[in-house]
Each structure stands twice: as structure tokens, then as C-alpha cells.
């Protein structure tokens, strides 16, 4: 690889001049400039990022910490981050932690060693993530949390309004005439709790304070949804509409009902949240879409603002709005064969 020295020699100027031309950092006479440019072209010169980073203490790289690349939400967010970063001339180091403390620890070291200019953190609130955040703050590395837990304090954050998610899901059912509505909750998840709250708010507008049924899952998996679904099919509670805390639960639930000889939406209308697997389920699942891509872009914008100093002061939280995407898993309540208490 040609170096700046080679170019200087080829063009018959000093390396200072070459540097000046390349970075537009000071006036260079037209002809001199031409000679330099020609030499660059001729030698196929590419400035060495390492040398530049060493000198400027800026690597032109940002890191994105995420717990998984297999769950569709994260790639979508990553793409938003990456697109915005690319547009601003930054590259993205993807750090896939798998939520493992050991990996998080090693990545923390890596970030410091690499001197990344900024970090986007997307992760559940593990102890080791909190440590990472502290370490980065101590080293004054700009940072923004993208869809992380509320427990991550004193940091810029880009979140989605979970209450609104629940609200929209319930609204969709209410507007279709449903009055007896259930919710699949995930124990110990604040996200799930907020979504339930949104459901309640929607119900309140109709005069009811709480859902007629709250099913409890241990976590956001299809398996959990399936188990609840089997139970549901057996007990046949008298609700006509159900909101699941996320799509995985909804898909599992749907599968169970189907296996038990019941159907969605004939026996109960169903709404998921996340809109990730909605398209591939039949009937197409109604779900609340979370703007993962936009959140990624917004996160990077916030980060850049901190990096270039155009944003200073107290941490900011940006909240994006979800949107309902209607599928075919919800039908007007009149069509349901389920007995209605208030019918």
C-alpha cells in the first residue's frame, strides 16, 4: 500500500501538502493540488485509518451492542443505525453479546482499546451492561441506549412507547366491537407491565378499568404462548378478544388453539405486539408495529449530536410511537360464537 510519503515524493511536494489536499485543511495552489491528486490516483493511495485515528484520537467507528442478531427486532434496529452511520461517514462495529457477561466484559475492553467514537447500546438491563455503561461514561465515550430498560439512567435513550403499544392493540379490538378483552402478561417484565397499562387505559375510555382476563407467561416465547393456549382452549373463558404481550406469545397461542380444534379469529380475536412474525402467520396476525428501523436512525442522530457537541447537558429520552397493523386475526365481535355476558 502506498503511503502519504510515496504520494509526496511522486508529486514532488511535502507530506504536509498532501495531507492538506486530502483533508481540505488549508489552501493549496491549484497546480500543486492537481499534481497531488494525480499522484494519489496513480498510486491508488488510501490514507491509513489507523495512523489517522492514532493522531486524531478518533476512529470514525461507532459500536452497536446487541444481545442477538437472530431476533428480527435487532437487525432492523441495526440497519437503522448502520444506514445513518454510513451516511455520516462512520462504520459500525457490531458487538453481539448473546447477553453473556463474559462477552459483554470483553467487548467493553474492546471498545476502550479501539477508541470507538460512540456507542449504541441495545440490551436488556443486565448487571454487566450497567457496568459497561458506567465504564464508558467514566471514559467519556458518547453513548445512547436504544430500546433498553428504564433502569439505564443518566444516558440518552430512544424508546418506544410501550403503554401506547398496549393501548393501540386494545383499541383495535374495542373498535371492532369487543368488550370482553384479555391480556397475556409476562411476569417480571416492565415492558409487559407497560403494555398492560396501555390496555387498561383503552378499556377505561370505555368505562371498564381492567381486562376480563389476564394470563401469565414466564417469558416472551412461543412455547409459553402455546401452553396458555391449550389451557385457554380447555377452559373456554368468555372473552372475545385477546392482546398478547408480543408476537411470539401470540403465535404460540394461536397454534395451541388450532391444535385443540379451535380457530383464530373464529373463537377469539387476537392481537400481537412487535409485528415481526405477523406476516408469516395465517391468518395474518394483527399486531402493533414497533419502528425498529426509525429508532435505530434516531439513536444514531442523537449519538452524533453528542459526539460533535451540538447537543450538551442533561440526558434526553426520545420516545417513538408504535402503529397498529391490521391483519385478519381480528373480526367483529358479533361474528364470535362465544357467549357474551353483556350481549
Amino acid at each position: 500500500m502506498a503511503t502519504i510519503k510515496d504520494v509526496a515524493k511522486e508529486a514532488g511536494v511535502s507530506i504536509a501538502t498532501v495531507s492538506a489536499v486530502i483533508n481540505n485543511t488549508r489552501f493549496v495552489a491549484k497546480p500543486t493540488r492537481r499534481r497531488v491528486l494525480d499522484a494519489v490516483e496513480k498510486l491508488g493511495y488510501q490514507p491509513n485509518r489507523m495512523a489517522r485515528a492514532l493522531k486524531k484520537k478518533k476512529s470514525q467507528m461507532i459500536a452497536h451492542i446487541l444481545p442477538s442478531v437472530m431476533n428480527p427486532f435487532f437487525p432492523a434496529a441495526l440497519k437503522g443505525v448502520e444506514d445513518a452511520a454510513f451516511a455520516a461517514g462512520y462504520s459500525v462495529l457490531v458487538c453481539n453479546t448473546e447477553a453473556s457477561p463474559e462477552r459483554i466484559q470483553r467487548y467493553t475492553d474492546l471498545l476502550l482499546e479501539t477508541q470507538v467514537d460512540g456507542v449504541v447500546i441495545t440490551s436488556p438491563g443486565l448487571r454487566s451492561i450497567h457496568e459497561m455503561v458506567e465504564t464508558l461514561q467514566r471514559n467519556k465515550i458518547p453513548m445512547v441506549v436504544l430500546s433498553g430498560p428504564r433502569s439505564l439512567q443518566n444516558v440518552d435513550r430512544v424508546l418506544v412507547d410501550d403503554v401506547q403499544c398496549g393501548y393501540l392493540a386494545a383499541r383495535h379490538l374495542l373498535e371492532t366491537g369487543h368488550e370482553r378483552i384479555g391480556f397475556i402478561q409476562v411476569r417480571r417484565s416492565t415492558t409487559s407491565k407497560h403494555r398492560l397499562q396501555g390496555v387498561c387505559e383503552a378499556l377505561q375510555e370505555m368505562g371498564t378499568a381492567v381486562p376480563d382476563l389476564v394470563l401469565e407467561a414466564e417469558n416472551f416465547t412461543e412455547q409459553e404462548g402455546y401452553n396458555l393456549g391449550l389451557n385457554f382452549a380447555e377452559q373456554k373463558p368468555t372473552i372475545t378478544g385477546l392482546v398478547a404481550s408480543n408476537d411470539m406469545l401470540a403465535v404460540g397461542f394461536s397454534e395451541a388453539l388450532h391444535d385443540a380444534g379451535l380457530g383464530i379469529p373464529q373463537h377469539v380475536s387476537l392481537v400481537g405486539i412487535d409485528n415481526t412474525m405477523a406476516a408469516s402467520l395465517r391468518p395474518r396476525l394483527s399486531s402493533v408495529a414497533i419502528p425498529a428501523y426509525d429508532m435505530g436512525q434516531e439513536a444514531l442522530r442523537r449519538l452524533l449530536a453528542r459526539m460533535d457537541g451540538s447537543q450538551t447537558g442533561a440526558p434526553l429520552t426520545t420516545t417513538l410511537n408504535p402503529a397498529i397493523v391490521k391483519g385478519h386475526s381480528v373480526i367483529p365481535v358479533a361474528v364470535h360464537p362465544v357467549p357474551q355476558r353483556h350481549a
Copy 2:
């Protein structure tokens, strides 16, 4: 951030000694070593990767070029690459090209500037990708193609046996008693062509040379599958089993049949290839799984072997085997209500 100089001063030794301790590059007396280690600990010293990379001309980074992070195959492969890289002490720069020539061009520059130690390329055979490959070769950057087109020559490659994919899919149908089998092909795709060939080979073992029906799609999308499905529902050809070139096509096809009042597998048994969306379709799609993760790992192993010089000489192609994953979209032929010519 503390530098090696700070550590040297703190420990009362020269920077050469500090370097020696950190890199285990020469003998250092026990007590001296201790002092250095203590200083490192006390100052929270992290060696600066940029400086090290500049000096050693090695960045400890490898890049993974991919066309998309949204299509599930790529994240899976990426994870394989990343895990193997992480284990070997490398970090992965993810370059998401979106198959855009402009982005590919910019990433090519970036790779050269960053002096990545190696590159994994996963991409369809675009002109700009070929240029990238040439440029990297000219600069002697080790490289391996992961699931790329056969047109990428003179490079190590890790591929999946596409013929085998088709073979396994057809086998699954044949073993369930199907004799009249169709195939959804994608025009101008070699991948699809190979898969068709595999189907033919399976049929040949049964004495038939070609499928009874070949449907033609323009590309690997759900929409294309849907269109073909509608057509199929109208014409009701007398096949009992169908292999789709990939899962997207299968899902679209299934949806169309459903919308037309027919069903999978009652009216036709269906097998996809890729096993990506299989889980979220109901009935669960039988599909041929491509070991994306393993391919990623293998690709990185090959790359490392080139990088450390333990592998030299002519380019190697490693081919991994796919495996059938049985779902519920295939049922014994006797159950089908479709008329049988040879019944």
C-alpha cells in the same frame, strides 16, 4: 486514558519492559513483572489498538460483507462468523451493502483504509462485488466467500450443496408416497437450477427423469409464490407434492391456496428450502435447512487458516450438507383427494 508511558513511569521501568510484560514477548523478572501488572491495574490501562495496529500492520478486525441483515439467512451466517472470530480474538466489522454498488464501493475503500486482516464475503454476484474481490486480491487481503455465486473465482469458498437441497426435498415427498411432483423454479438463478437438478436426481432414482410440473417465478419472493399459488388453485394440476425453490415462495404459495379455499397439505404437500420461515407458518412447513451458522463458522476457520499462513496454495471450496426438517405440510399421498394418473 492511560498510555504505556504512564504505566512505565508508575512502575518505574521502561516502556519496553511494559510492552514485554503485556505481550509476553520476552523474559521479565518476577518482581518487575509484578510492579508492571500492578501499575496496569491501578491506572486501568488498556493498550491502544490503533497504535498497535499501526505498528504491527494488523488490526485484529475482520469484515463481513453482506447484502442485508433483514433476511434471516444472513444474521445466522453472521453469528457463525462472529462467534468464531470472537473466540479467536478478532472483532467483526459488519458491512451491510444492500447490494448497492455505491455502498460496495465505499466499503471497499473502507476495508483498505482500515487494514482489516481478512474479509468474509456473502453476496450475490454483482459486478461491483467482483470488483471488490479483485481489489482485495490485488492488495493481498485474505478472503473467503460464504455462500456466494460460483462466478466468484480463485477464492476460498464455503457453500451449501444446492443439488442436495433439491434432492432432500424431493426425497421427503417420494418417501411419503408421492409420485407426481412439481417444482417452483426461479428464472435465471443458478441456485434454483441446482435445486431443480437435485429434485430430478431424486426422481431418477424412482425411474422418472423430470418433475411433472415446473412453475416459473421471477425471483425468490413471497409475492411470486402467491401469484403462482393462485394460478395453481385455478388450474388444479394433478400433482400431489411440490418443492419450492425457497421458503418465501412456499409461504406465498401456501397463502394463495388458502385464500382460494384450498389447503396445505390437504390439496398438495409442500416442501420449502432454507428452513427460515418454516416455524412461523401453519401448518409448520417441511423445509430443507441450510446450516447458515455452521457455514459462518467454517468460513471464518478457513479465513484464519489463510491469515496465519497455515493454509496456502490453490483456493478451496468447502461444501456443507443441508438437512431436511419435517413439518406438517407433507402428508402421505393416499390421503390426497387429488386424482392420480397412475393411481
